[in-house]
């Protein structure tokens, strides 16, 4: 499950008759997206953003929390409740309690919660009669027993309690993204990009049903759909989002100047793999601040003792771009190895990462 920073802003949770809530939500979402492009308005009052990338960029989780808090104060003028945990369900609970759940502790954190957090009074009452007071105790019930005793809806809640699903049904407001898009005057683009929300046919319904089946089997994050967005490298432009989550804004879809052209790698690593480039004398190849290489790379070394000869390379194509910041310096290099494989690597300061495989 993805580690998320959740923001709970009480003053944005209830709709005001003058429409100011939606406007403020949009303004805050835009401001957060400047800090992290994957920021999301989950429903009124609740925002999330993944913390992995920003932590690396801003220099740690505390720095991200500070920057985000300041951003909310600047835009909305209200103090947010912030929390960090794995998965949307835990992240929201963490925000309400204003805690950072340490890496790997989300399971224990979830299990210690009272049953009322599932939002179903009848279930909580029945369980407390059975002597079950925490999510952990409920999670330990066998799935078959839950199915016997409760209705189908309880099975989903059970999956959430067990950590097999990362979010509650109804935790997201699927219409919010559309309303925000309308407010931006982007309705048409939204339709086109949405696909799932546009004109529907018989095939779409069948596909939806199939996606539901996989989701029940593997959890909410297991089934994803594509979302193309702006950005200079394939690893920035191509994102996969959980099926059923609102589409990302398409403002950036226009091709960027200097963007790496076709063909793009058929594999784009979500988590880039560190590697080293070596020159003929087996010295590490580094990229200078001006964007040139210290020497011709002749071999690539992955973190294991795996070493491959480079028979051709092109680049670097240095890019200063606005992603986490206005001054992020990266460069792409394409290479073909003696084995016939072609790779796309990125230099970021003095380090190299494998971001794509032309497989």
């Amino acid at each position: 499950m993805e580690r998320l920073l959740a923001l709970w802003i009480e003053s944005l949770a209830t709709e005001q008759p003058d429409g100011s809530t939606t406007r403020d939500t949009l303004a805050l979402l835009d401001a957060l997206s400047e800090l992290c492009p994957f920021s999301e308005a989950v429903r009124l009052g609740l925002f999330v953003l993944p913390v992995r990338g920003p932590s690396r960029f801003f220099g740690g989780l505390d720095a991200v929390v500070r920057v985000v808090r300041q951003c909310v104060l600047d835009v909305v003028g209200a103090e947010p409740s912030l929390g960090v945990a794995e998965g949307l369900f835990c992240a929201e609970l963490a925000a309400h309690e204003k805690v950072v759940v340490p890496l790997g502790a989300s399971d224990a954190f979830r299990r210690s919660q009272p049953l009322s957090v599932l939002g179903r009074k009848d279930l909580a009452t029945t369980c407390s009669r059975l002597g079950l007071h925490t999510l952990g105790a409920f999670a330990d019930l066998e799935t078959a027993r839950v199915a016997e005793r409760f209705n189908k809806h309880a099975l989903t809640l059970h999956a959430v309690a067990r950590g097999e699903l990362s979010e509650l049904e109804g935790q997201r407001d699927l219409r919010l993204a559309r309303r925000l898009a309308q407010l931006r005057g982007e309705e048409d683009l939204f339709e086109e990009q949405g696909g799932f929300f546009g004109q529907r046919g018989d095939g779409d319904d069948r596909a939806d049903a199939a996606a539901h089946r996989v989701r029940r089997r593997l959890g909410a994050d297991a089934i994803v759909v594509a979302n193309l967005r702006g950005g200079r490298g394939p690893e920035d432009r191509a994102t996969l989002v959980p099926w059923g989550s609102p589409p990302v804004s398409v403002r950036d879809l226009a091709p960027w100047p200097g963007q790496l052209g076709a063909p793009s790698p058929a594999t784009t690593l979500v988590h880039p793999v560190p590697l080293q480039l070596r020159d003929g004398a087996n010295r590490p190849v580094v990229m200078s601040a001006r964007g040139s290489l210290s020497a011709e790379p002749t071999a690539v070394i992955f973190s294991s003792p795996l070493r491959r000869e480079i028979i051709w390379y092109a680049g670097p194509w240095p890019l200063v771009e606005r992603w986490w910041s206005r001054h992020r310096r990266r460069a792409h290099v394409q290479m073909v190895l003696a084995s016939g494989e072609a790779l796309l690597v990125v230099a970021e300061s003095s380090r190299w990462w494998l971001v794509g495989i032309y497989d």
Binding site: A207, A210, I223, V224, A238, A266, E341, Y358, D359
Partner: protein
């Protein structure tokens, strides 16, 4: 007695222009794009059939398999991709795949066969990359259900971990060669096409996947 062709009725050119050949098989096949149309009988993928794409790691198997989805997806068919952990969706868009109708299950963990079965009823094309070596029983069950449902199963495998059952159509990449100028331009794939039943235009073909626009084409 009938060994001569009967005279054809003469039709007006306007009417002729509106006619198309009778193709009963059409609804039973999914369309294929270039360059595969010319290499596969019926110029399409027969519903209920299993297609295996076999290539050594990194030598274009994934691009080839994805290119088989493009024409059908453009024409409105849904596809699912199971077990391809980091799909390059930009490359898919360049290949002509309509991403609005593709579902991905990148990491089915142990349940690749189950996830594939879950998706069968919902999509017309199912691309599966099984982990290492697929079990005979799981492969058999999946192929049976594919036949029953009329889906097309495309399996991506490696020579080291081959699909355990014979396929209706088999693409084997034997060689991959990049053409580069100041950047990567195109890759020439030598592909052996074989199959059973209908006459497959067997033998080796050289195709370009991808070309400098990211598309697949004949050489």
């Amino acid at each position: 007695m009938f060994a001569f062709s009967p005279p054809r009725p003469s039709l007006s050119p306007e009417l002729l222009a509106t006619l198309r050949p009778v193709s009963l098989a059409k609804s039973r096949t999914l369309p294929l794009g270039e360059p595969w149309r010319a290499l596969v009988p019926g110029a399409g993928l027969r519903r209920g059939s299993t297609v295996v794409v076999e290539a050594p790691v990194g030598l274009g198997g994934l691009s080839l398999a994805l290119s088989l989805l493009s024409e059908a997806s453009t024409q409105g068919h849904w596809a699912a991709v199971v077990g391809v952990d980091d799909p390059g969706v930009l490359a898919m868009a360049e290949l002509g795949v309509d991403l609005r109708r593709v579902l991905f299950v990148p990491r089915p963990r142990g349940a690749w066969a189950e996830s594939a079965a879950d998706l069968l009823d919902g999509v017309d094309l199912l691309l599966v990359r099984p982990p290492s070596r697929a079990a005979h029983g799981a492969a058999r069950r999946l192929m049976d259900r594919v036949r029953e449902r009329g889906t097309v199963l495309v399996v991506l495998s490696e020579p080291r971990g081959p699909w355990p059952l014979p396929a209706d159509l088999f693409f084997s990449v034997t060689q991959a060669e990049w053409v580069a100028s100041s950047r990567l331009d195109a890759r020439y794939l030598t592909v052996r096409v074989s199959g059973r039943g209908e006459a497959v235009h067997g033998g080796e073909h050289v195709v370009v996947v991808p070309n400098r626009h990211g598309r697949a084409e004949a050489r």
